[in-house]
Symmetry: C2
Subunit: 322 residues, 2 copies
DNA sequence: CTGAAAGCGCTTACAG
DNA sequence: CTGAAAGCGCTTACAG
């Protein structure tokens, strides 16, 4: 009793007793048993699974950072499971369910996996899709507005005086790719600018695909004065190609990306890009799921939550007036 | 009772009763209260803090990945705290202690912070230093042998026929920098090769410092046929400089790094480098600390553990015979 | 200011 | 095969 009061810093413990307790705590190497404390406080420890299929992505790492910040606040356990193909996806899901996760976060591209989502729905497990461009009505999501992001970036480039703007598309199987392209088109159209079909090239979100795209855009006689790549890895590759061709950045060519992953500030010049608050997105994901799990444990039926986070245009060294 | 047996899959529950229980579980959305279970099972939930000062590093992210894998196995909570200067370092430490962490992991460069380690020792909190090149006798550590790594890489380059080998040093305030340099020197000496002082340049482990180093090495009339940079970020920068100068890699110049961070496989050509099993290092760190915490909670005095992990030389596209 | 008693949700002998 | 009882380490009224 008195020990409890001492530890929790409550009033009504005489200084003498308090010191005695503190001394004993030291002597015995005593630490509070947090499980027991939680039991009494009625907060059941729960576990949130993260099922991902893109292990090398800096994106996931930042998500985990934010998720951890939040989960250590609420006391949730985070459980990571990785998968590659469809078969391993099923296996990974089964493993998470067997481990008794109470909720699941799906980072891209699994956020758009019909199969996974249906399985989870059947199990009655609260699910949250991350960075999907096509949020489902009944599955919670946290994302930014990719369309608005691309719109803002393109307007910025036009504002700098650029007219011939190249665009590198993203992986067509990822839902945001499309939105980013459409945002680009919309901004060009609203300013009455033509789009040279040769200035729009395909990419797959990888550095490698960015190299090919960069060469397709820059090795021609007529080349754009600015290139907007759908993500940072591809933008970094375009910069590398430009370096190789002796094109000065940003003096002779403006290049910008999307996402603001670590590579954006690693390379030189640093990349003008759309900053996604990825750490905050991870934090929000865990926070939303935590609440839903608590709801569900009380017997309520949690309502899906859709949160759209704010992006920021980061103006850095890779862009300049035409 | 019967519910408990059903959930834990023990024998001696009649099929009828079992189905009834399962049905009720579904109907009521029942989930086991893990805190209560832990209480009964005697396993106190504990919490491991990670105090870091290098937020953008891919290194930390991989450490966390491994740490999470292990902690979700043992049920430990991971708590992240970041700091920048000395003042915020003290504040962050205080915050972790106030949160009641039972053990602390110190990634580089904090792994060599005398102040932090002394504070933790005074508090009697098990501590583990990550990737320090100067492990203290009485503080647990997990690391690779940087000296052997640099030795292996340099021998590999010499084996390829290179004789004029450039070296980019790392941040002198990080303890592994020195060891990597010494390993390089040792391999050169054992093969009877001279080291041109102009071929050894300073760096700070940053991409930016790698650019300067690359220019210092490659813009001269007489340049090395291979460059060994003390980490991947700097090696990537040297590759960028080479691209800019129109030097073909690996045909005209071999470049290699150290660490095998994500950038090594992002860039093109991909980087020959020393692979640190960072995820496994994170896992080992949490495992070791977990055991020490359990020991301590039983009243025993945990002995420090020092684990040296194996590195691997990853041969990729950036290196070739002279 | 202090401490005996009850109860959090679970599991593990124990007795039927 | 089933269930009543005790106890894990904590905290919160409750009575002194």
């Amino acid at each position: 009793m008195t020990v409890s009061r001492t530890i929790n810093g409550q009033r009504y413990v005489s200084p003498e007793l308090r010191d005695q307790v503190l001394a004993s705590i030291r002597a015995l190497n005593y630490t509070v048993n947090k499980s027991a404390r939680n039991t009494r406080n009625g907060s059941s420890a729960y576990c949130i699974g993260v099922l991902y299929s893109n292990p090398s992505s800096a994106y996931l790492n930042e998500i985990m950072l934010g998720g951890l910040q939040e989960s250590s606040r609420t006391g949730a356990q985070l459980l990571l499971e990785t998968c590659t193909g469809l078969a391993s996806q099923k296996a990974a899901l089964k493993k998470l369910l067997a481990a008794g996760v109470d909720g699941i976060i799906l980072p891209p591209p699994l956020c758009d996996s019909r199969l996974t989502i249906e399985t989870l729905k059947a199990e009655g497990i609260p699910t949250l899709a991350l960075a999907t461009a096509r949020p489902l009505e009944d599955v919670s999501s946290v994302r930014i507005d990719d369309y608005q992001g691309a719109l803002a970036m393109t307007r910025y480039l036009i504002g700098l005086g650029h007219r011939e703007i190249g665009f590198v598309k993203g992986d067509p199987s990822h839902t945001p790719s499309d939105l980013r392209y459409v945002g680009f088109l919309a901004a060009m159209r609203e300013c009455g600018l033509d789009i040279d079909p040769a200035f729009v090239v395909n990419g797959l979100f990888t550095y490698r695909s960015g190299l090919a795209a960069g060469e397709a855009l820059l090795k021609k006689k007529k080349r754009p004065t600015a290139v907007f790549a759908s993500n940072d890895d591809m933008a970094a590759a375009v910069i590398a190609v430009a370096h190789g061709l002796g094109i000065k950045i940003p003096e002779e060519l403006t290049i910008c990306g999307f996402d603001d992953t670590p590579v954006a500030t690693t390379i030189w010049p640093s990349l003008t890009t759309i900053h996604q608050p990825i750490v905050e997105i991870g934090r929000a994901a865990v926070a939303i799921l935590s609440e839903q799990i608590e709801r569900q444990q009380k017997g309520e039926i949690p309502q899906p939550v859709h949160q759209v986070m704010k992006f920021t245009l980061m103006e850095r060294g890779s862009s300049a007036p035409r």
